[in-house]
């Protein structure tokens, strides 16, 4: 077990290091932020002073070492544009993204499981076919396009929901949250639904497949033979058994929700860290780009690590295989 753990930890470390190198060299090699940030009328001395202040005059490898040392301490430098710490900016925007991702996850579960159950119980009914057809669309439509259509329908044509921004928020444990006010709820509904679309399709498919499999099992037959109501069979016996894989997959998908939030946040002008990333890329605000990418990549590496370790605890075969390979 220890060997597996060490091997897996080392792998995560290598991935992070490679990513940081790639991101650093690439991001610091394109464009010259000085041209963007310094008054065009500044003289050469001014430019050199600013470059020295930003640490841009040193050789690239030295910049990387300095960067790495500071990154380990959570310091990704100061944003060229905002003038504050890049990490602080990311952390400041993170709650909005997390709230959106959690809301999307909730929607995916609340809509996806009942629809999937329905489709699994009556696989040949027209309604089940319609649900499956919609889930195929949910898989294949680009998120941003669906977002635009939602705005067109609900904001522009019907005028029911606001098209952008976060709305009023209240403080909970020091973090702003928008689900407690009517205004905030109105603002979060469309972006969350948009972000959830792909996951709804996924949950529908998983639930349907699980239901169809569970219905053939002996315990369901036994429950039927006992004369239980079918609502109870489905709601208790079937649901309980299919929930395990669904919960696992949903947990795994949380990371990808955060990554995909980049798109949704840009469409709905949701003030999260994804929107910050796109703004920063366009402004060549390199410290913020680097801070975002490494934060999200670390998040992913962590999620993957935890999942792998949990799996290996549950299923020794994976552990043994990894040791052999």
């Amino acid at each position: 077990m220890l060997v597996f753990l060490l091997r897996r930890l080392m792998q995560s470390g290598v991935v992070l290091l490679v990513m940081s190198l790639l991101v650093f060299v690439g991001v610091y090699a394109i464009g010259n932020p000085v041209e963007l940030l310094i008054n065009p009328e500044a003289d050469q001395a001014d430019i050199e002073r600013t470059m020295a202040a930003l640490g841009l005059d040193k050789p690239l490898w030295m910049q990387y070492l300095i960067f790495l040392r500071q990154a380990l301490a959570g310091d990704f430098g100061t944003s060229f544009v905002h003038g504050t710490s890049a990490m602080q900016l990311i952390l400041h925007r993170m709650p909005a993204t997390l709230e959106l991702a959690v809301a999307a996850l909730l929607i995916a579960v609340v809509l996806g499981i009942p629809l999937g159950l329905w489709a699994g119980l009556r696989p040949d009914s027209p309604s089940a076919r319609a649900i499956m057809g919609l889930s195929i669309l949910g898989f294949s439509l680009p998120t941003f396009w669906v977002g635009l259509m939602l705005i067109m329908l609900f904001s522009v044509q019907l005028g029911w929901l606001p098209s952008n921004g976060r709305g009023a928020s209240t403080e909970i444990l020091g973090f702003p949250a928008s689900f407690l006010t009517w205004d905030g709820l109105q603002h979060i509904l469309m972006p969350a639904l948009n972000l959830a679309l792909f996951k709804i399709s996924l949950v529908i498919r998983l639930t349907r497949a699980g239901t169809q499999e569970a219905l053939l099992q002996d315990y369901v037959r036994f429950a039927r033979a006992k004369g239980l109501r079918s609502a109870r069979i489905v709601g208790v016996h079937v649901l309980k058994n299919i929930l395990i894989p669904i919960v696992t997959v949903i947990g795994l998908e949380f990371g990808s929700l955060i990554a995909f939030a980049v798109v949704t946040e840009s469409v709905f002008a949701w003030p999260g860290m994804g929107k910050l990333l796109i703004e920063s890329i366009n402004l060549l605000d390199r410290p913020v780009v680097v801070a975002y990418l490494l934060t999200v990549v670390s998040l992913f590496v962590m999620i993957n690590l935890v999942v792998d370790i949990l799996y290996s605890l549950l299923d020794p075969r994976i552990r043994l295989q990894a040791q052999a390979g």
Binding site: W145, L148, M152, A259, S266, I281, L293, F300
Partner: protein, 297 residues
């Protein structure tokens, strides 16, 4: 081939999808011939015709005597610079398809070579290649594309590179699993005993037998690549403004969408939608056709 045609003629939805897909490809190929104007030739644009709703007739004001084109209708409206949306969509289709198909082909070539090597030789090489592929597949495609584009910057070559990097692992994995099964078969052993060179065994004997599942994955990936390119271009970090793909057209019209001028974003969006959905349906059908298990039933 006949089998293929039969498969498509048996189902109405899939037949429709195939027809739409072929039509879209034809439109993209013939864009300069059938579009009412060249949307990127500034001489043909009339700023007075900006933001006209669908069906409007082009105005004569501002067009010089002897201009190359007479009056025409903007069947799908015009954008803020007086560009005919129908023409812009045709040209956009061209760019979207080119980027999607070329990145898929590149990734396919690279991924299948690695997959063949990994599956055929096994051992350390296999472990290395598959470990890298696994790690990459554990990240969502959009995150990898974001990292690469943040690193590389904008441009056609760069987005093709990003889409290539996102895709290759799928092909490597698919090819490897097929190659693992095939390499134990007798024809490979026979080829080896005949003393054929390894590249010849790999590409002439092993590859053709690994191809069917790859074709399906590649077809699905073209749709995914087009969709991802559109998304990235919409975000303003994909293609530059000089290469207006469907995604960029949609991004262009976004601000006008909010004030009710839906057509600038809506119609390119419909074109994108038709393209992606029809590719997906055709690929789905291909999967059924190429799957020998289903065929025997």
């Amino acid at each position: 081939m006949k089998q293929l045609l039969d498969a498509f003629s048996s189902s109405r939805t899939e037949r429709l999808a195939l027809i739409i897909l072929l039509l879209l490809i034809l439109c993209a190929l013939a864009a300069p011939l059938i579009s009412p104007q060249n949307p990127y030739d500034l001489a043909q644009l009339n700023i007075m015709d900006g933001r006209l709703p669908p069906g409007s007739v082009a105005s004569a004001i501002g067009i010089e005597e002897g201009a190359p084109r007479g009056l025409h209708r903007y069947w799908l409206g015009s954008d803020d610079q007086g560009r005919d949306m129908f023409s812009a969509i045709l040209y956009g289709l061209r760019i979207s398809l080119t980027v999607g198909v070329s990145s898929t082909l590149l990734a396919l070539a690279f991924g299948l070579t690695l997959g063949l090597l990994a599956g055929y030789f096994g051992g350390r090489l296999d472990t290395l290649i598959m470990r890298v592929a696994d790690i990459q597949l554990s990240f969502p495609a959009i995150l990898i594309a974001l990292v690469l584009l943040a690193v590389l910057g904008q441009g056609v070559g760069k987005i093709v590179t990003a889409l290539f990097a996102v895709q290759w692992a799928y092909y490597a994995r698919t090819t490897r699993s097929a190659a693992l099964v095939e390499r134990r078969k007798e024809y490979i052993e026979a080829a080896r005993l005949l003393g054929l060179s390894t590249p010849r065994i790999l590409f002439r004997h092993l590859l053709p037998n690994c191809l069917p599942p790859l074709i399906v994955v590649a077809a699905l990936q073209v749709a995914a690549a087009i969709s991802l390119e559109a998304t990235l271009s919409f975000l303003g970090i994909g293609l530059p403004i000089t290469e207006p793909s469907l995604g960029l057209l949609i991004a262009n019209g976004f601000q006008y969408l909010l004030v009710g001028m839906y057509w600038i974003s809506f119609f390119p969006g419909i074109a994108l939608l038709l393209l992606i959905v029809s590719i997906n349906l055709v690929a789905d059908r291909l999967r059924d056709v190429l799957n020998p298990r289903l065929q025997k039933q």
